[in-house]
Symmetry: C2
Subunit: 273 residues, 2 copies
């Protein structure tokens, strides 16, 4: 007997849709009381029966009814899963009828299509964007003529993970340029960036937090000293302000939130992968 309730994200595909909405739902209740697990690629009656047995057993072991967040498109599979006795939350079911009525036709159930590969062009764009982000990381290559966006900021302000996210999920050619001591002392945008002004987005961060991050990376170095962090952040903020570059503080923002703000600010509308 335990207080931890088993939650299963079940899907005929990757389970990403089920897990995304399930996670969002659970964060609206208390944390720490759920034990989550994913059961992807449940795409046959046999696999659904196996899953149902596993879910039922987890509930019996925990002494509490499991919750299933289910994104199987095939209703027959969902019916099999329901034999587990779990609380069934069907991710698509509530929306299909209103959509069918609005659009005036039936859906075409396509299993696991949401995160499957369909379009080679789209796939190439995504992979090429990823290559671009990795080769234009941290000022490695500074020809930004093909860039969709260029993130600038001091070292460890969050540029690299944001670029990788923008490439992976939006197919953007996202470069990043670290503001160096020379740049920071001049109080102006580095000359090589000026021609790309409309692609620039600045990331700033609280010096305290920057100090903490840099300490993890290079403890007790000049790089991580509180004074260095304060000076660099202040100088970067002067550049952003003087040059009218849009800026966001990453101190309390997730990678997803930074990415979403960048897209919104630069007016870039790209479907998410």
């Amino acid at each position: 007997m335990s207080d931890i309730r088993p939650v299963f994200y079940v899907s005929d595909g990757t389970g990403i849709t089920a897990e995304t909405i399930g996670h969002s739902l659970l964060t609206q209740f208390s944390e720490g009381e759920f034990q989550t697990d994913r059961l992807p690629f449940v795409d046959t009656p046999d696999k659904a029966r196996e899953a149902a047995v596993l879910i039922r057993a987890a509930g019996e072991q925990a002494g509490v009814r499991p919750i299933v967040v289910n994104s199987c498109v095939d209703g027959d599979l969902s019916a099999v899963l329901a034999t587990s006795g779990a609380l069934m939350l069907d991710v698509f079911a509530p929306f299909i009828a209103p959509l069918e009525q609005e659009l005036g036709r039936k859906r075409q159930p396509r299993v696991g299509k949401a995160h499957g590969i369909v379009d080679f062009d789209q796939y190439h764009r995504r992979i090429n964007a990823m290559n671009y982000a990795l080769t234009h990381d941290d000022g490695m290559r500074v020809d930004y003529s093909d860039a969709d966006v260029i993130l600038i900021g001091v070292s460890r302000a969050g540029k690299t993970p944001t670029c990788v996210y923008l490439a992976l999920h939006h197919g953007l050619r996202a470069a990043n340029y670290p503001l160096t001591d020379d740049d920071l002392e001049s109080d102006r945008l580095p000359p090589r960036l000026r021609q790309y002004r409309n692609k620039l987005f600045g990331l700033t961060i609280d010096p305290d937090r920057l100090h903490q991050i840099r300490q993890e990376r290079r403890p007790n170095s000049r790089y991580s000293e509180m004074d260095t962090c304060k000076r660099e952040v202040a100088a970067a903020n002067v550049i952003f302000s003087t040059e009218h570059i849009p800026v966001l503080s990453t101190t309390h923002a997730s990678i997803e939130e930074i990415s979403s703000r960048v897209l919104e600010t630069l007016g870039i509308n790209r479907e998410m992968y």
Copy 2:
């Protein structure tokens, strides 16, 4: 008047949850007839009113009723959005009542929490995993003692984007090692990988597809020749089979699907970021 129906992913946070489920829903109807747009960070009545005006205008311009996929937690904001006249699909609403009943208590609406930063430890794990993936990409560093998983395969089989995805979304230290000519000729696992056997996962690919991908990268090179692709893939498959390494074909798989299969096969259960 057009046949393209405007769809808005509206959220008080990043909108990722709304877009994920909305995209999955739309793929179950015809493609190409929806014009999607995201309206993130709609977290005040004023912003909701602005959004409603914009949505209504888009519907009037298109001559067809818009669809709103809404993940605002605050019901008052949703009510304002509904004044747009759009078909409202509320991502959370259908699941809150059953969950409240099952858990025996009310939810605590927490705006934009699903993809916001909460836990510094979790954030560090994610960033450190990303650094690990970037420094252990493509055989750059081959000390894999800290790796959670090591992807192996021929060049351009899909290793790098999968490693980045696993780092970004699951906080995994994911390394990758490209099988070189020397490795492939020996028909055996490279000696440096043998001690990490239980962390290995092989990626294979159809030679036709590999040829196509390599042609884009280095056209008409020895590297991209059909014969080279066939020989390399065959030799890699011999190694996977001889050494009993789990293997997946990436030919028709998305990055998400490859990642999900890797986690499932290696029995790694990590919450998704």
